[in-house]
């Protein structure tokens, strides 16, 4: 177990180093950092001094090592655009993205699980066919189109819900939350639905597949033979055996949801990290881009590693050649 743990952690560290190399190369080779930071009046000697101060005259390896060292301490430099500390900017925006992702995840479980059970149980009825069709439509609808259509219907036409922003927020320490004000909750509705739609279909398809498998097993037949009502058999006995993979999928998808939230955040002008990143891309604000890339990849790798380790802990068979596994559904 210890050997496996070490191997898995080393692997994660290697991946993060590679991502850091990518972020470093973007920082170093796309646009001259000095030119991006100085204003037009700066003299040649000002520039040379800044270059020296940033350590851009050192060897590339030294610079990379320093970049990684700073990144580990959460120091990603100063934003080119508004001269603020990048990590402070990220920390300000993180609660907005996190709350959106959490609500979307909860929605996907609340809607996806019952729909998945229904399609599995009523296999050849109209309702199941309808839900099955709905699930493929759900995969095919781009999330930004869903967002725009929701705005068109509920904000523009009906005027029920706000189309952009986060509403009023309450500060709890450094965390700003939209959960505690009516306008904050109203603002969450449309973005979280549009972000969760793809996830709902994913959960639904997984629950359906797992249910179909479980329903064939002997203990279900036995439960039926005991004369238990069908609803108890389906919802209590069968469903409980499908939940483990659903939890895994949900955990692994959180990284994807955070990344994909950038599309939703653009549509709804939601002030999260994703919107910050997209604006950074438009203004070529490279420190912000590099920090976002590393942060999202870190969450991704962290969750994947935790899941792998948990699985190996639960199931010893996976310990021997677990490196073969890896790469789970990397949705869109």
């Amino acid at each position: 177990m210890l050997a496996f743990l070490l191997k898995r952690l080393l692997n994660a560290a290697f991946v993060m180093l590679a991502v850091a190399l990518l972020a470093f190369m973007i920082f170093r080779f796309f646009g001259d950092p000095v030119e991006m930071m100085v204003n037009e009046q700066a003299t040649q000697s000002d520039r040379a001094e800044l270059r020296e101060r940033l350590g851009l005259n050192d060897g590339l390896l030294t610079q990379y090592v320093r970049f990684v060292g700073n990144a580990v301490q959460g120091d990603f430099g100063i934003s080119y655009r508004n001269q603020q500390d990048v990590m402070v900017l990220m920390a300000e925006r993180f609660p907005a993205t996190f709350e959106l992702v959490i609500v979307a995840t909860v929605l996907s479980l609340l809607i996806g699980i019952p729909c998945g059970v229904l399609t599995a149980v009523y296999q050849d009825r109209k309702l199941a066919d309808g839900l099955q069709l709905a699930s493929i439509v759900g995969v095919s609808l781009p999330s930004f189109v869903v967002g725009i259509l929701l705005i068109l219907v509920f904000s523009v036409t009906l005027g029920w819900l706000p189309a952009f922003g986060r509403g009023d927020t309450v500060d709890i320490g450094w965390w700003s939350s939209g959960f505690f004000t009516p306008s904050g909750r109203a603002a969450l509705i449309l973005p979280s639905i549009s972000l969760s739609l793809f996830q709902i279909t994913l959960v639904m398809r997984l629950v359906r597949a797992e249910m179909l498998e479980v329903l064939r097993s002997d203990f279900i037949k036995f439960a039926r033979a005991r004369g238990l009502p069908l609803s108890v058999v389906h919802w209590r006995h069968a469903l409980r055996n499908c939940l483990m993979p659903v939890i895994t999928l949900t955990g692994m998808q959180i990284g994807n949801l955070i990344a994909f939230a950038l599309v939703t955040e653009t549509v709804f002008q939601w002030p999260g990290m994703g919107l910050l990143f997209i604006q950074a891309v438009t203004f070529v604000d490279i420190p912000v881009m590099a920090a976002y890339l590393m942060l999202v990849s870190f969450i991704f790798v962290l969750i994947n590693t935790l899941v792998d380790i948990t699985y190996a802990y639960v199931d010893p068979r996976l310990r021997s050649d677990a490196s073969v596994k890896g790469g789970v559904a990397n949705g869109h």
Partner: protein, 307 residues
């Protein structure tokens, strides 16, 4: 002539065709996709306007609603946008761009993924190690993030004059880079299994060249899952291109793809010009939906477990 007849008959008797006739959604999807492809290929001949030719746009005709509403005018069946661009023409030309970029990026990812996967699986050793670690790194970053970064960085690095003509190629690469890994892993796995089998060893004994063994003997064993993955990835590629263009790191507004059209329309959401955003969205959804339905059908029809 006779061989063609035989081929047609074989196709008619095949399980694939039979499963196709049993599946209304697949038939619907194939017809829909065929209509979209044909209409976008024929776009220059069946549209009233070339939306890429700025000279043909007339501001006098801007913001016209669809023809069935009051104020709609004759050649502009689906209305016009704020620049006087005919939406119907823009949608057909845009579909053409979207379909081309989607298809090219799948082809690029396929050729890179199959080549690298075969080499990694057949030769093993450090080549295999390097390629698969590279794949791990790519898979540990979200798909959309890689595509955005490549597209944005390429736009930043290239001089403006070159950039405009290359935008669609940049997008093809940006979408192909994160997607070749899936193909590579699939072929690698089957190459590793097949290479130790007797027929491959026999081929090696009679000095068949390695690339010939790879292409003629090993590759065919893995084509079924690859075909399903490629179809589903075609839908994903079209979606990704649309997303990038919507975010402003894809096709520019003077050569709009469907995603660009939606981005432009999104700016006028609150001005009552709902048709500018709605019709390109519908077209995009129909394309992706039909591709996904075909992919789903192929997956079920080619899955030996479900027979």
């Amino acid at each position: 002539m006779a061989t063609e007849l035989v081929a047609i008959n074989r196709w008619r008797d095949s399980e694939l065709w039979w499963s196709f006739t049993q599946r209304p959604s697949a038939m619907f999807a194939v017809i829909l996709l065929a209509l979209v492809v044909i209409s976008s290929v024929l776009a220059p001949w069946i549209t009233p306007q070339n939306p890429y030719d700025l000279a043909s746009l007339n501001l006098m005709n801007s913001e016209l609603p669809p023809i069935w509403l009051e104020g709609g005018e004759s050649p502009y069946a689906l209305g016009t946008d704020v620049q006087g661009r005919d939406l119907y023409s823009a949608i057909l030309y845009g579909s053409r761009t979207s379909l081309t970029i989607g298809a090219l990026s799948v082809l690029l990812a396929l050729s890179v993924g199959l080549t690298l996967g075969l080499i990694a699986g057949y030769y093993g050793g450090w080549v295999d190690n390097v390629l698969m670690r590279l794949g791990d790194v790519l898979l540990s970053m979200p798909f959309i993030l890689i595509a955005i970064l490549i597209s944005a960085m390429a736009a930043q690095a290239l001089p403006t004059s070159v950039r405009e003509s290359l935008t669609s190629m940049i997008l093809v690469v940006a979408i192909a880079v994160p997607s070749w890994v899936q193909y590579a892993r699939t072929v690698r796995a089957s190459a590793m299994v097949e290479k130790s089998k007797e027929y491959v060893q026999a081929a090696r004994l009679i000095r068949v060249r390695p690339w010939r063994i790879l292409l003629k003997h090993i590759l065919p064993n893995t084509l079924t899952p690859i075909m399903v993955a490629a179809t589903l990835n075609f839908g994903l590629a079209i979606l990704s291109e649309a997303t990038l263009s919507f975010l402003g790191v894809g096709m520019p507004s003077d050569q709009p793809s469907l995603g660009t059209l939606i981005r432009i329309g999104n700016q006028y959401l609150f001005s009552g010009l709902w048709w500018v955003v709605l019709f390109p969205s519908i077209q995009l959804c129909l394309i992706v939906l039909s591709v996904n339905m075909i992919g789903d059908w192929l997956r079920d029809a080619l899955n030996p477990k479900l027979r």
